[in-house]
Structures are given as structure tokens and as C-alpha cells.
């Protein structure tokens, strides 16, 4: 028999037991006997771990005081962190100059927030200022030596301040260097290509610890006494080169995922190589590899702790040094928890922002 539909069938709502909270629970947590067991075991584990941890960290913790004796309860002794907080944040930076560090970080905080938050005006101007002027301002604020600011030698820098300086300079420079290296590695020009390949493979093939040791111990042996470069600067350059190599490979992955037709269309319109890259290829390639870029940034941020092996006092090193204070023996757990939460909050923020960015940049094309 032939079929003939004269009017379209109405769309019906889905069955009730497949939607809503109950539907979700059934589908995700109790879909089978095994799944139900895992769900219940997981709940029990959370129940037995989380309340004690919260009790220790918050409800039974000691918050006020100036000495060890203030800590009388069973919980965490945050007094230890409170007493030492300035050192944890600024290292051995002179207290009278703290305002310089605070100013520099507040300024970059405002600039970055301006650039990251949607719908702020004049992003181009603020971006240009951040890239061109801020590094100079930050240099004079941190190091001094001009505008009546006394010099603060880099060996006095430490704590969270040093961690953030290493991480931000690392990200700031390794990102563009990585992009250039990635383009170089895909270039048809033999010299650009071989320089990029050698650079990437060299730095990627060496552990960061080795790079840092080389920069702090070996390098000074080869450089004349009067030309010595600052130890922190050497470590910074090591970190930047090391991370650039990783960044280059992440970006190259994105470049390879862009169909050849995109470059052809750009070329057919008369766009030069660099304009094609800047307007067509890189925006798409970088968007594709946001997870990889943020991965590299997070790794970089955490890897900065390795500078403690060459005697730079980053956040972790300063906190560890505080454990040795005879007045405060036995509070290493509080110290480590503090360090861990600073790292976790920073890394988790980066991760969340990257997810937001991926959603924002999604323009509905399937790939």
C-alpha cells in the first residue's frame, strides 16, 4: 500500500522517566547494579573524608595569635601562616618597599582583567600598553634604580612574588616565541626551518632541572667575571626557552589542523604570508589548541617551584624555610596546605577561564 502523509505529525514531549532529576539519576548514577555500588561507595568515601577535612581546616582551626601557644585546639594552626605571611608573599624584599610590589601586581591585575573581561572598551590600546609599557614599568618597580626608587637586588626577591614574576614573564615571552618557532618549523625556508627544529628539539630534550642547573652553575664558568648576568635573569631565560619549545609544538598541532584551503583562500585574495597567518590561520589554530596552551601555562606555573634547587626562594622554598624556625616547629602540614591552595586557586582559575574562552570563541562551525 502506498503511503501518503497529508499533514505533519505533531512533536511530542519525551517520556517523563528520561528527563528531570530522577531521569538524570537513573541514567548516570544507578543505571546498573555495579554502577549503583560505585555510586554508594563513592558517597561513603566523600562522607568519611570531607567533614573531617573541613573541621580541621575551618571549624577547629586557630586563627588569631602571634605565637605557637595560641594554637590550642585540634585543628589547623593558621597563626603560623598569618605570622609569616609577609615573608611568604614578598620573600626578603624590604618592608618599606612592599608598596612597589603591590602596585606592580595591582596594575597588571587591572590590565589583565580589562583584557579578559568581555565588553570592556579600548582593548587594543590597553593590550598595547600591557605589552609595550608594562614590562618597563614593572622592571623599575621591582628592581628600582630610577625615578628615586632604591635598587632591590634580585636575591632579596622571593615568595609568591617571585613565583608570579617567573610565571608571568615565562608566559609573556614563551607564547610569542613559541608561535614564531611553530611557524618556522612549518616554513618552506630551509634556514628558518632548521633553526626552529634544532631549537625545539634541544630544549624539549633536556629536563627543566638540568636547564636551571646549567644556567646557574655551568653558564657562569664560560662567561668572563665582569659580564656576569643576574642569577634570576638566567633562570628566567632558561624557563622561557624551555617553555617556548613546548608551546611551539602545541601551536604546531593547531596549525596542522587547519585545512589547506584556508591558506589558499587567503592567498587567492592577495593576502601576504604574514597577513594570512595573523588574520586567518593563527586565530583558528590558537583557538583549537586553547586546552594545550593552558596546559602548558599551568605546567609552567607549577614548574617555577623548581628554581628552589638553584637557591631562589619562590613560594614553596620560603614556606619550607619557615619550617626550620625553632619557634614554629611542627607546622609543615599547614604550610604545605597553604602553598597547595595558592597553586590550586591559580591553576583552577586559568582552567576555568580557558573553558569560558573556548565557549566564547565557538562560532558554530563543525570540525
Amino acid at each position: 500500500m502506498a503511503v501518503l502523509v497529508t499533514s505533519p505529525s505533531p512533536s511530542l514531549p519525551p517520556p517523563a522517566n528520561s528527563v528531570g532529576v530522577v531521569g538524570w539519576l537513573r541514567q548516570n548514577l544507578f543505571s546498573s547494579a555495579l554502577n549503583s555500588i560505585f555510586t554508594l561507595a563513592g558517597l561513603y568515601l566523600l562522607y568519611s573524608l570531607i567533614p573531617p577535612a573541613i573541621n580541621w581546616a575551618l571549624f577547629q582551626a586557630d586563627w588569631v595569635g602571634t605565637t605557637k601557644e595560641a594554637c590550642t585546639s585540634d585543628g589547623a594552626c593558621w597563626v603560623f601562616v598569618g605570622v609569616r605571611i609577609k615573608q611568604f608573599l614578598f620573600g626578603f624584599y624590604p618592608a618599606s618597599e612592599y608598596w612597589r610590589v603591590v602596585t606592580a601586581f595591582s596594575l597588571i591585575g587591572v590590565l589583565v582583567a580589562w583584557l579578559l573581561i568581555d565588553r570592556t572598551p579600548k582593548k587594543g590600546l590597553v593590550g598595547g600598553f600591557t605589552i609595550l609599557c608594562y614590562p618597563i614599568i614593572a622592571y623599575y618597580l621591582f628592581y628600582g634604580g630610577a625615578f628615586g626608587l632604591p635598587v632591590v637586588e634580585t636575591y632579596k626577591w622571593g615568595g609568591l612574588m617571585l613565583t608570579l614574576i617567573l610565571a608571568t614573564t615565562g608566559m609573556f615571552f614563551s607564547f610569542p616565541i613559541g608561535i614564531i618557532l611553530a611557524l618556522g618549523r612549518r616554513s618552506s625556508m630551509p634556514i628558518a626551518k632548521s633553526i626552529s627544529v634544532v631549537f625545539i628539539e634541544f630544549w624539549r630534550g633536556v629536563p627543566l632541572i638540568t636547564v636551571l642547573f646549567m644556567s646557574s652553575v655551568m653558564l657562569p664558568m664560560f662567561i668572563p667575571e665582569n659580564m656576569q648576568i643576574d642569577k634570576l635573569l638566567r633562570a628566567m631565560i632558561g624557563i622561557i626557552f624551555f617553555q617556548s619549545a613546548y608551546m611551539a609544538e602545541v601551536v604546531r598541532g593547531g596549525l596542522q589542523a587547519i585545512p589547506r584551503g584556508q591558506l589558499e583562500a587567503a592567498e587567492a585574495l592577495g593576502l601576504s604570508y604574514w597577513k594570512s597567518m595573523v588574520f586567518i590561520i593563527l586565530p583558528q589554530a590558537l583557538k583549537l589548541v586553547i586546552p594545550g596552551i593552558v596546559n602548558t601555562f599551568i605546567a609552567l606555573f607549577k614548574d617555577t617551584t623548581l628554581v628552589l634547587i638553584i637557591g631562589l626562594f619562590d613560594l614553596l622554598a620560603v614556606v619550607q624555610a619557615a619550617f626550620a624556625d625553632p619557634k614554629w616547629l611542627g607546622f609543615s602540614v599547614e604550610g604545605y596546605v597553604f602553598v597547595a591552595s595558592v597553586y590550586w586557586v591559580s591553576c583552577f582559575s586559568m582552567s576555568r577561564y580557558s573553558q569560558h574562552l573556548e565557549k566564547k570563541l565557538h562560532t558554530g562551525h563543525a570540525r
Binding site: P259, E264, A265, A268, L271, F279, Q284, R367
Partner: protein
């Protein structure tokens, strides 16, 4: 090429000339001794079996592919390794691709404005006005703020045509513009191309749309194995093919 020759060509209205053009992919001889003259306002259809070199041929004309022997002269400029010449030629030739190749991260309007702003140095305002004019002409102006991924294939291809026209080219190359489209969308793209042909645009089009070929073409080229086998005006080409290979090809597609 001397200045007098260039002038000579311009007065003849020769837009593209190929002389003994040869190209190899590695050892594979993909274009063999191609000779072709395209005069102003001509509409040339290139057809032939898969892998015959027809796409390669038109891609050589704006140097997306490099030829190894012979001369390609476009608007009086000989294509060689000189990047300046290549840029000049590309500004004068528009190209439409089988896969549209719109820029997915840019809106329809931005797709159209990019090259006028950054290659022709037009102001954003001027570029937007031109883009709007061409988007209206391909009847898609109401979608100007959407992204390519939100449009149908036919709409995307019409945007791609508008994007090329924004550069005000004197020659348009079409590389199988309807091959990636669903059947019901082919007509909307062909209609735009027919309009363009009626307005006197010089066009080279690789396509198997024989109805379109009969409507607009001055000449149909049939290629096989890297050679132009047969060349004729469309009615004669379809009704009275000369070579066996042309006959076989036409019997397969019609």
C-alpha cells in the same frame, strides 16, 4: 615581455594567456603543453574526468600552483617567482573553491571586508559599503552578521563569490563551485554565476554542470590526462563531439 607587447595584449583584450605550460607533481606530468588565450568577457568552461588536471590548470593562473615550464601571462603580467607580480595578479583574479573556504572565525561581513581593508587599504566604512553591495547582489545581505558555520552550503558559496567580488577582480576562477552542494542548493549558486556572466565578467569555470555550460559558455574545453583534447563552442561541443574520449566522457555524465 616588453612594454609594447603588454600594450598589444591589452588592446586585444587578452586577459589570460598560457603558452606551452607544463607542470609536474614529482614525476607525474599533470599539465602537458597547454596553450590557451582568454579574452575579455569570455566565459570558458573546463571539464574532464577526475585527475585530468583541470583544477590544476586554473590554480596555476593565480599561482596557487607553480608551473615548471612555459609562460602564464595574466593581465599583461608574466607569473614567475617574483612575489610582487604574484600579489598583483592575485588582486586582479577572484577565485571560488569547491569547499567554499570561508574563514569560519569571521562573520560573513568580516570575510568580505578583510582583503579590501588589508590588501587594497580601503577604509572600514568603504569596505563595508562595497561588501554590502555585493552581499545584496548574491541575495544574502540579511545574513551579514552570521558566521559561515550558521549558513547552508549554498549560502556559504554565495558569500564566497561575494567575498571575491569585493576585490573588484577582472577575472573570476571557479573550481567546481557546486560539487560540494546538496542538489537543491546548486541552482541558487548557478543563478548568481549566470548573472555574473551576463554582466560581462571574464570567467573560467571548472564544472560538470552541463546545463550551466550551455547557458553561459563561449567555449568549452575538454581535458584528459593533462592535455586539452577538444575545444569548441558549447552547442557544437555537446551535440557533435569529435574525439572518442570526449564522446565517452559525455556519455558518462549526461
Amino acid at each position: 615581455m616588453t612594454a609594447t607587447q603588454t600594450q598589444q595584449m591589452a588592446s586585444d583584450g587578452v586577459m589570460v594567456e598560457l603558452r606551452n605550460v607544463n607542470k609536474w607533481y614529482g614525476d607525474f606530468h599533470v599539465l602537458k603543453n597547454i596553450n590557451l588565450k582568454v579574452t575579455k568577457g569570455e566565459r570558458i568552461i573546463i571539464c574532464g574526468p577526475s585527475g585530468c588536471g583541470k583544477s590544476t590548470l586554473i590554480r596555476c593562473m593565480n599561482r596557487l600552483e607553480e608551473h615548471q615550464k612555459g609562460d602564464i601571462i595574466v593581465s599583461g603580467i608574466t607569473l614567475d617567482d617574483d612575489l610582487k607580480n604574484i600579489d598583483t595578479v592575485r588582486r586582479d583574479i577572484g577565485m571560488v573553491f569547491q569547499q567554499f573556504n570561508l574563514f569560519p572565525h569571521l562573520s560573513v561581513m568580516e570575510n568580505c571586508c578583510l582583503a579590501p581593508i588589508w590588501v587594497q587599504k580601503k577604509s572600514r566604512k568603504e569596505a563595508t559599503a562595497i561588501a554590502m553591495q555585493y552581499l545584496e547582489r548574491v541575495q544574502i545581505a540579511d545574513q551579514a552578521d552570521k558566521f559561515p558555520g550558521q549558513l547552508s552550503g549554498g549560502q556559504q558559496q554565495r558569500v564566497a563569490i561575494a567575498r571575491s567580488l569585493c576585490m573588484n577582480p577582472s577575472i573570476m576562477l571557479f573550481d567546481e563551485p557546486t560539487s560540494a552542494l546538496d542538489p537543491e542548493m546548486i541552482k541558487e549558486v548557478l543563478d548568481v554565476m549566470v548573472d555574473l556572466a551576463r554582466e560581462g565578467m571574464t570567467m573560467l569555470c571548472v564544472t560538470h554542470e552541463m546545463g550551466f555550460a550551455k547557458t553561459v559558455a563561449n567555449r568549452v574545453l575538454f581535458m584528459d590526462a593533462g592535455e586539452i583534447i577538444e575545444e569548441n563552442e558549447p552547442n557544437e561541443f555537446f551535440d557533435n563531439p569529435q574525439s572518442d574520449r570526449t564522446k565517452l566522457f559525455l556519455s558518462q555524465i549526461l
